[in-house]
């Protein structure tokens, strides 16, 4: 028995199939992963992502702290904007990938992966000590998060929440909701336009029901299964699958989120700058299956000569793209677009072609 989100009873009512994910009992699907996936691409899906963690950072040292602990450049982000960033170890290994919302130079709000909440918060607390005016707070236990994703998401959110202003892509606003406030962020993990809505736990059922009611036929409850196939089509990383402490952002193809920041120091800088300049031994690539069959996380990748040259991090049949796609770390010397690689599984070998990422460019 894992932790339950405030929406657990709603999932049971909708006859969801429940699985354990990062210690939480969450729906993997309600009806069919394929139908839920395509509902998001064509109309809209609603997801309970309350397992995600939230860490609040305030104080006059908030900006220098965020600049030091995360790899992206928070000084160039406007207030009211959200951005993707990484938290790395000194050796460049990825501790977590996060979305940072910038309220102002003295207030940031960070959305972290469920599996990393404790680890991230201790890392943040540990490094916060060196900064004078800083208050860090782990709000994960008190906040819930609902994602509404897909081309119909803006109309549904407008109808259900009637926000005073509609944030544009990668922006967020705080909106009054009864006596409380919610965060309405135009972000997501599906490759579609959509929102992530953060609220007090007590409001989760009410907002979930309201979105379902206003969405009517246009909105489909979606589980973790569709969330995974959607993010693979959009080529977003899943912590623990595609990225981890053994790999750096440069190896994962995330150099765009590692910035020079006018020469200031940040954790991991030395290794990351060196890798940006000289390249890495391995790199994350995309592939498309030529054979019929689906590679799985951890399957070895072999060259034509049978030499092991990498490992699969994620793969699925893409229900919208209608082909099997995935990502793998490959030895850099073997990376050439269009090359055929073998993926070894018990009793069979699947031929795949190296392709560029993302697979699905989306409608954002």
């Amino acid at each position: 028995m894992g932790k339950k989100t405030p929406l657990y009873e709603e999932h049971l009512r909708l006859k969801a199939k429940i699985v354990d994910f990062a210690g939480f009992d969450l729906p993997i699907s309600y009806t069919s992963m394929k139908e839920e996936h395509n509902a998001v691409r064509e109309r809209a899906g609603i997801f309970d992502v309350s397992h995600m963690g939230e860490i609040d950072i305030r104080g006059s040292d908030a900006l220098p702290f965020v600049q030091y602990v995360f790899t992206n450049d928070a000084s160039r982000i406007e207030d009211g904007k959200a951005f993707y960033s990484l938290m790395c170890r000194e050796d460049g290994g990825i501790i977590d990938d996060v979305i940072i919302m910038r309220y102002s130079s003295d207030h940031f709000f960070i959305v972290v992966n469920a599996s990393n909440i404790e680890k991230d918060f201790s890392w943040i607390q540990e490094h916060a000590r060196a900064f004078g005016n800083l208050k860090v707070e782990n709000l994960s236990e008190t906040l819930s998060m609902i994602a509404v994703q897909g081309p119909k998401a803006p109309a549904i959110v407008q109808e259900a929440l009637a926000p005073s202003s509609m944030p544009s892509h990668f922006r967020f606003t705080n909106e009054k909701y009864g006596a409380t406030e919610i965060i309405l962020s135009r972000t997501g993990y599906t490759g579609e336009d959509g929102f992530e809505i953060i609220m007090d736990n007590e409001k989760a059922v009410e907002i979930w029901s309201l979105l379902l009611e206003k969405g009517g036929e246009e909105i489909t409850p979606c589980g973790l299964g569709a969330r995974d196939t959607l993010r693979i089509e959009a080529s977003y990383m899943l912590y623990g699958n595609d990225i981890d402490e053994k790999h750096t952002p440069i190896e994962a193809g995330l150099s765009w989120a590692v910035k020079d920041k006018d020469g200031i120091d940040y954790i991991g800088k030395k290794v990351l700058e060196e890798q940006k300049k000289n390249g890495t031994k391995v790199r994350l690539v995309g592939f498309e299956a030529v054979s019929r069959g689906i590679p799985r996380h951890g399957d070895p990748v072999i060259s034509k000569d049978g030499e092991t040259i990498g490992i699969v991090t994620s793969a699925t049949y893409g229900p919208f793209l209608k082909k099997t796609i995935g990502m793998a770390y490959l030895d850099t010397g073997h990376i050439e677009m269009g090359n055929i690689i073998g993926i070894k599984q018990r009793g069979r070998q699947l031929d795949c072609k190296i392709t560029s990422l993302p697979f699905y460019k989306g409608n954002k």
Binding site: S32, M33, K34, R292, R296, R348
Partner: protein, 126 residues
């Protein structure tokens, strides 16, 4: 009336004289979720009871289908060669979603399989 028999690996068989039609149970399709590919066996392939005959890939996992009895593959569900048709296993696992037909070499092996009631009991206990 024809009667479905089941294996512990969640295959069903339906006897048609000296042949059996084989598929996966409703429970199995539910557990696998949306099926994306079925790698069909070659016609004429000889298999022993319990040997892997072919593989099936769903969005969630890959698994093998084992021979419920020994015999020779004499027919396969050609519809399953097309990815878009594989969902018939999810929609009608005991009918349209059959996978292959075996000509039995030892029909007595059928006696070892479970009845529908026995199978349902096993699944409930899992």
């Amino acid at each position: 009336m024809a009667e479905y028999l089941y294996t512990e690996d969640h295959e069903w068989v339906l006897r048609e004289e000296n042949r059996v039609r084989v598929g996966i149970s409703d429970f199995a399709q539910g557990e696998l979720g949306d099926i994306a590919y079925v790698e069909l066996p070659e016609i004429g392939k000889e298999v022993k009871k319990g040997e892997a005959v072919c593989s099936i890939d769903s969005l969630k996992s890959s698994s093998e289908i084992y021979a419920p009895v020994s015999g020779k593959v004499v027919e396969v569900n050609e519809k399953l060669r097309k990815e878009e048709n594989c969902e018939i296993i999810n929609k009608d696992p005991l009918g349209e979603g059959w996978i292959f037909v075996l000509e039995m070499s030892n029909p007595e092996e059928l006696e070892k399989l479970m009845s529908e009631d026995q199978y349902n009991k096993m699944v409930e206990e899992e």
